[in-house]
Amino acid sequence: MAGRGRGGKTGTLTAEQLAMLGCVKDLPVQSAPQPTFPPVMNKPIALETTEAESFQLMWKEKFLNRMRNSPYYVVSESEEKQNLEQKDWREKILGQKKPKKQPEFNYRAMPRELNMSNRKRRGADARPKLLTKKTDIEDRLKVLEQKELKTGAENEQDDAKKESDSEQDDEMDDPEAALDDEMDDENDYGNSYFDNGEAYNEEDDNLDDGPVI
């Protein structure tokens, strides 16, 4: 018959064979969890507490508490959050737990990469720069406003002066120079108005991606 070659028959061992190998048919079924520790054959001897030991025990407890509250006890941020959530609401209100001190290390005696405060400073530099820029803009605008106001007042004064001057200029010999002055006076207000507008449009053109409609 085909397919009855080597390895064709892969049935399990018979009961007799299992018995020969020492396997019992009815394996013990575990109904309850095993005891945590194996039963102790001999009762351990009770330890005597000497004076030295009691001192050491007390000091150890104190030391571990001190370490737990010290800045050297490093807790991850997630763990800290979890602790806060678990904290009693009364403690939260009373704020009994003092904020932990930041550990102070002699970073000069450690590799530079461990001093994270250096890195922080670099990262923190970006924001103040932006802020200073903003304040600069505001200051600049104020300065410009003041300038405009000043220039407006000066213009008025200039106009008054120029009117008197023009009367004097009429008496001047050069007619072309007189004409230029007149042109300047006329264009002074108008030119600045148009200049600002053009600049504004130009900027818009540069910034906008699409065509201006």
């Binding site: 054959m41 001999n42 351990p44 001897i45 330890l47 507490t49 030295a52 030991e53 001192f55 050491q56 025990l57 000091w59 150890k60 407890e61 030391f63 571990l64 001190r66 370490m67 010290s70 050297y72 006890y73 490093v74 807790v75 991850s76 941020e77 763990e79 550990p103 290390f105 002699n106 970073y107 000069r108 005696a109 450690m110 590799p111 530079r112 990469e113 461990l114 001093n115 994270m116 250096n118």
Partner: protein, 522 residues
Amino acid sequence: MSADYAHLCSAIVEQCFGKVSQSVSDCLFSATTRTLSQIASATKLSRKEVGLALSVLINFRLVNFEATKLNPFVPEYSLSRQDILCLLRYPRYIHMVQKKYGSIGASIAEELISAGSDTASATLTKCLSDEDTRADSAESYRNIFLQMITDHYIIKRPELILSEEQDEVLPKFESNECDYFRHPNVDLQLIEKIRRGEATLAEAGDSNMIWNVNYDRFHQDFRDAIMIDAIERKLGENASECFRFILKIMYKTTDPWQRKLSNQITFVDIKQTIEKKSNNLDLMKHLDQYITLLTDDSLGFLRRVGDMGGGLYVVDMEHAFQSLAFACIESVITERFGSKAARIFRVIRFKKFIEQEDLQKEAMIPAKEAKSLAYNLFQDQFIHVKAIKKAGGGGNGLAKAFYLFQIKEKDSVRMLLDVCYKSLYNTIERSNFEKNEHTGLIDKSLRLDCIVETMKERGESDEYIAEIVETFTPPEVEILNKVKNRIKTLSKAELTMDQTIFLLQMYQHHCTILPTGIGKYK
């Protein structure tokens, strides 16, 4: 380093420095060296957290760093695995300092231990700022600090070489053995100013001299105490006093951590020293007899090697710790399997190789019982079996073989050391479990104690205080007492187990050539 030791180290670091430091130390334990980025990626912690944990561990001398071989600008970190266990010995160090230098010394050692490492000025400022210690003068603090340096209990860290380039990637240190115990210049007036807030620590002239506790000096004292106590128990007080003087003379000419034998000591030296420094007339009168007693004793701490100068002697550290370690193993066997098993162990040790049948006869124990006990000892790896096959079987039958019991001393000690690490880890874990299970109850009791204390300070009536105390119900009190007792027993077990570990580590140092990391300056 076994897996048990790794677990123990992890638990100790967690206990003292928190979970982040634990993850970092676990990561470093499993590797020889690692860089910051490798640690961060392996532990899945942020670089900031890893950096902080590494800084803490470096500060406590548990992590070392050096430049990688490929790139001198990238530091890689390694863990001082053998030093982690020293964290558990801090209470013993403090107790020893307390005994030698009183509360001032203990306060200095406590501040230094809690800070990991610090300058003399900073340590003394902290000590003097403590409310409990204000009664003592600043001068006495300084003198004891300097005395502790002279006695080598405090050691200076290698000095930092200040370079022109301020922001160097890796700092360089100058290590000079002559400089380790050079006294710093401590300005008490400046310390007073710092305390008052009129000056800062940066102004102190000793900011480059960082000090920390010299673990191996304490270990040397612990080792001596083990030997002296053993002699006192066996041969009496006078013999132990005599041996204490012998050790003192030995340290003048021998490195305290020399592995096998000390340099030679003459009888005349011993006699002169005892006559000068001891008031024990009985010892002076019978000195030669006490020395003979020490040399003839089976412990073998002292050995006569010549007759020059009234007799030449050496302290045999190897033999001493062999005797002590095996006394310890025998006591463990007695506790675990009974005295008959200990007898079997002794017989095998005495005979070196012995067959099952001979063992029964030699130990004078019934065959069945002897067999069962020997197999129990074999199962727990206290004894081993050596198979010797008879040469030239040739035929079809099985070759005849003899199975002999033997003790592989180093293996047995190592096995017991691992058992100690494992049980110490279990003890710490169990203690933590008890604390976590009853956190609420412990917190409540602490809060109540605090309230009662405040009420007493305020002068509230006893009735009112009793009413407040009654808020803690009798069943709660009972549970709390049980938990406290359990934690106390576990802590006591920790101390005792550490003593056994120390003894077995001393065996490894003096009786093997294994690297133990023990040195004169650490």
